[in-house]
């Protein structure tokens, strides 16, 4: 049982607020974790710490046994919830960019995914709609052969048809050597992908467990559970 991702009492405080208040969790290799919570609950903060963009205030976090930094960036593939590509790029430029900087990038797979997503290589990144951008970002992220994929709201702002494609692409990318953390507040379409789920609210993990076991235990779907847990949010 290889643990690919682990946090222990992880805290992130800013001057004005505490984004993460001592969260602890473990994720095994080959498993998909759903990080569920409303906006502002700390999901993005946790993910950015994994990606190496934020430093923890206290507590520990390990990715494949290493602290996030130069050594983990090659094995972590991060999908942020912003448009992070350089504005002058065309889709083709983005592919080349990723290929040049990441040894584990598979150009063939990327081109296949682009086709699957109906994206034209020659389009400028600035001309893409939100849904198309999301598909492009996902293409780039999934074409890497990483140990840990971190997807921040991959379904956000995307129409139902595109959502299906995105979920298909994520599923297709699954392999037993890597793990995924997917954050979302649109639980219904995607809950069938989760091995484990954790509910986060205001920087704290309020419920975590195996998705199927939670279904048995609570007699509810994860989506219903989400609504129940966050009814006040």
């Amino acid at each position: 049982m290889v643990i690919i991702f682990k946090t222990e009492n992880l805290t992130k405080s800013y001057m004005t607020k505490k984004a993460l208040k001592g969260v602890s969790i473990e994720l095994e290799k080959g498993k998909i974790l759903g990080l569920l919570g409303p906006n502002g609950s700390g999901k993005t903060t946790l993910m950015k710490i994994c990606a190496g963009l934020l430093r923890p205030t206290s507590g520990e976090i390990y990715i494949d046994g290493l602290v996030p930094g130069l050594n983990t960036k090659p094995v972590v593939s991060y999908l942020p919830d912003v448009n992070y590509l350089y504005r002058w790029m065309k889709i083709r430029d983005a592919i080349v960019f990723f290929d040049e900087f990441y040894d584990d990038f598979d150009v063939k797979k990327a081109k296949k995914l682009l086709e699957f997503m109906n994206l034209d290589e020659n389009s400028k990144v600035t001309s893409l709609s939100k849904g198309m951008l999301e598909k492009l970002h996902l293409t780039l992220v999934l074409s890497r052969k990483a140990k840990l994929y971190i997807l921040d709201e991959p379904l956000g702002g995307v129409d139902p048809v595109a959502r299906e494609k995105i979920i298909d692409a994520i599923l297709d990318n699954f392999n037993e050597d890597s793990s995924m953390i997917i954050s979302t507040h649109l639980v219904r379409d995607i809950e069938r992908l989760f091995d484990e789920v954790v509910f986060i609210s205001q920087g704290e993990f309020i419920l975590k467990g195996n998705a199927e076991e939670l279904r048995i235990e609570k007699g509810k779907s994860i989506d219903e559970l989400y609504r129940e847990v966050f009814q006040d949010a």
Binding site: D172, R192, K220
Partner: protein
Amino acid sequence: MTLEFDGRIPIYIQIMDKIKLDIVTGKLKGGEKLTSVREMAENFKVNPNTIQRVYQELEREGITYTQRGTGTFITEDKNIINSLKVEMSMNVIKTFIDGMTNLGFTSEEIIKAVNDYFKGGKANGNNI
């Protein structure tokens, strides 16, 4: 084929039920080889770990068996398939009885209603 899953019931159980149904109805024949975990996961559009669990449970219940190097196969044991049929029919019967009882039928009334249903079919010229 994307099954519309009831999120309240564990997915692996729902998939197991579907497979059991296919065996009983004959869609899946005894001795037939099951597709790979990966392929089935893609067909149902679920996490492969879920399918992994399905296969494990099916084997535990004796409905499938694995031959090393060759794959996983549906059992050819007619007894097991029969008891599956019975088991599944019991679920249907239970649901039916619960529904009828809920409508206020007693046991005798239920039996009479069923017989009438069959007779009514004959009276309408249907061969049942």
